[in-house]
Symmetry: C2
Subunit: 347 residues, 2 copies
DNA sequence: ACCAGGACTGTTAGCGTTAACACGACCTCG
DNA sequence: CGAGGTCGTGTTAACGCTAACAGTCCTGGT
């Protein structure tokens, strides 16, 4: 029996012990009915100041905490939102999650999360299901993946859902950074440096953000009647960027490269360095995301910044509207900002 | 009235509508008592196969979903764990969270999170409080910060809590990567390259991991009777690493630097490059964390890898023990692994 | 003096679930 | 052939809370 707590030290085992105090216990101590206690605790309905004092004292003394389960059962509201996050350890999703969580907490909501590693209709569906069973009042799906649209369509309609970065076809409201415009800006910036064309290292084909960025790049070139080089495709990882870089080395007329994210741009830089190609002297490189590291790459990376906190805030706002019964189906865009650094600097 | 759903299209507004079906509804349709339905749903107690079929059919037809709140109310178990994460957009915490979540979901638990930006006794306390009010069964605190110890001491003892990366003084079980040993390995690796000493860019003084890494470095030098240079302190960010690098440039005998994390190491590399100091030719540099980018830094970074998935798994296991009533107070360490790359390569 | 109505408090009835026990039918064993 | 068990099912009573209504005072206007 190692477990005997020393005096003054709380027993830290989870012995069943006396259960948490309930409204009734507080009521007993304060000499009122449980309803009066409920009214004090929720500030609903009038209570004489004197009574309130007594109740509050009892609440304090007993360490009373309202039982969420009971409250949820009777009110039908859990005060919890669910977030489905795909690849939540990537910088973008993690930051978005953070933004949503902040906005939600400010409004008094708790957050339940469910990450899914590999996308696919089933897993997103499972995640939503798992959250629903936690009685969440609404769900945010962070899954900028093509399958997300189908998965979302399969979600029962009786719970409010909004998506972050989903496709236009999603049957729910979508909020997203303007990937297309961000890619356009990066591409035009590179062209403005005097290049005849811009190469592109794209993200995985089944990611919507990858598609939008690629489209932004492609259409910018087409609009000007410029040659559109074959895209090299990566998987967002620095490693795939490195491989893309090696594939690109030696291409004729390689003067400007737009990478679909900063991590791949890092791999590119590495591959170019190894091949003796200097950035920005020989080739200009731009990325996407503006991860905190980007400013300290070698050289510092020109990139497109996404305001994830704003995305989180707007997403929560949209979900709130949906939960209030609004029929919002629009697609909301958050503007992207071009950050120019040395990787596209003067030669 | 824009809201009328077209036939075949689900109404996506949250109109109150007929409430979710309950056990009683299913029971009615199947012609049994609600208890029989409960037994079928939970696979508790014997049910004749024939009856089970009928019940299952009704469950399916009605789209019955158990009401968690009611179940929690009566069983006292919510099936949810809480995670308090500090700076959850940093690579380490985000990965740990991911690891914990995975392990928890495998065991059938849901996860509620609560991030806190700035540490301090109150905010961690608030976060714990907020999670408790969500009726979590246990709490993981990811907060490798000195204030975490005090904050944890203030948490009521009636809920199981474990900490990730907390200090030895924490009144709860702690799980952590062996920071000290990781730092020792990095330092010894640098010394083995023939340097007379190793400089150190430390993390914020109030982070326990920063302290452990610094101690591992310092004591390794002291053990060999080597000179211990003054530490330069950063805040984990690449920017602070850059500034540290500029402060270091020109120091006499600067041959080897151990940075407390990879991001700062990146800043260091940048500062050295700008100053015309070559890595690894002039100076050797090592980091800590092994972020995915580290292998593609310029040059690729020697660093200490932390197995966050393993940390998450062990953390969940420990919490499970606590919830089962075990009085585990030990400190569990996950070994760190040195990854050697070009930044400490041959000259 | 009387009644309307507000302020304050209490009583009752669920919310949907599981725990605990009760009951009949059937089987097995001595 | 009856005692005692298991199987399959039902009944009842919580769990802790809020909604809805029912009182009981007290005040103020007529």
């Amino acid at each position: 029996m190692v477990d005997r707590a020393k005096p003054g030290e709380q027993a830290r085992t989870s012995a069943p012990g006396p259960r948490q105090p309930s409204l009734a216990d507080v009521a007993g101590m304060a000499g009122v009915s449980h309803m009066t206690v409920s009214r004090v605790v929720n500030e609903s309905g009038p209570v004489r100041p004197e009574t309130r004092e007594r109740v509050l004292a009892a609440v304090h003394k007993l360490g009373y905490r309202p039982n969420t389960a009971a409250r949820t059962l009777v009110t039908g509201r859990s005060g919890t939102l669910g977030v489905v996050a795909l690849e939540s350890n990537l910088y973008g999703p993690a930051s978005t999650l953070y933004g949503i969580e902040n906005a939600a907490r400010e409004a008094g909501y708790g957050i339940a999360i469910c990450s899914v590693t590999r996308p696919g209709r089933t897993s997103i569906g499972d995640a939503v299901e798992s959250l629903r069973s936690q009685a969440v009042e609404g769900i945010v799906v962070i899954a900028p993946h093509v399958t997300a649209g189908r998965a979302l369509a399969a979600v029962p309609g009786d719970i409010p859902v909004v998506a972050v970065g989903g496709g236009e076809s999603a049957p729910v409201p979508v909020i997203s950074v303007d990937q297309y415009d961000g890619a356009r800006r990066a591409t035009e910036h590179l062209l403005a440096l005097g290049h005849r064309t811009v190469w592109h290292v794209a993200g995985p084909e089944d990611w919507l953000e990858a598609r939008d960025r690629e489209r932004g790049w492609r259409e910018t070139l087409e609009r000007r009647g410029l040659r559109v080089p074959a895209v090299v495709r990566g998987d967002w990882s620095p490693r795939s960027g490195y491989e893309a870089g090696r594939a690109l080395v030696g291409k004729r007329g390689l003067k400007a490269v737009f990478s679909a994210n900063d991590q791949m741009a890092l791999g590119l830089l590495r591959a170019f360095t190894e091949a003796g190609i200097r950035v920005p002297e020989d080739v200009h490189v731009a990325g996407f995301d503006d991860v905190p590291e980007a400013a300290y790459f070698n050289p510092p990376l020109t990139t497109v910044r996404q305001d994830f906190i704003e995305v989180g805030r707007k997403t929560f706002g949209l979900l709130e509207d949906r939960m209030a019964g609004g029929d919002v189906r629009a697609r909301h865009l958050v503007p992207a900002e071009l950050i120019v650094r040395e990787s596209t600097g003067p030669r």
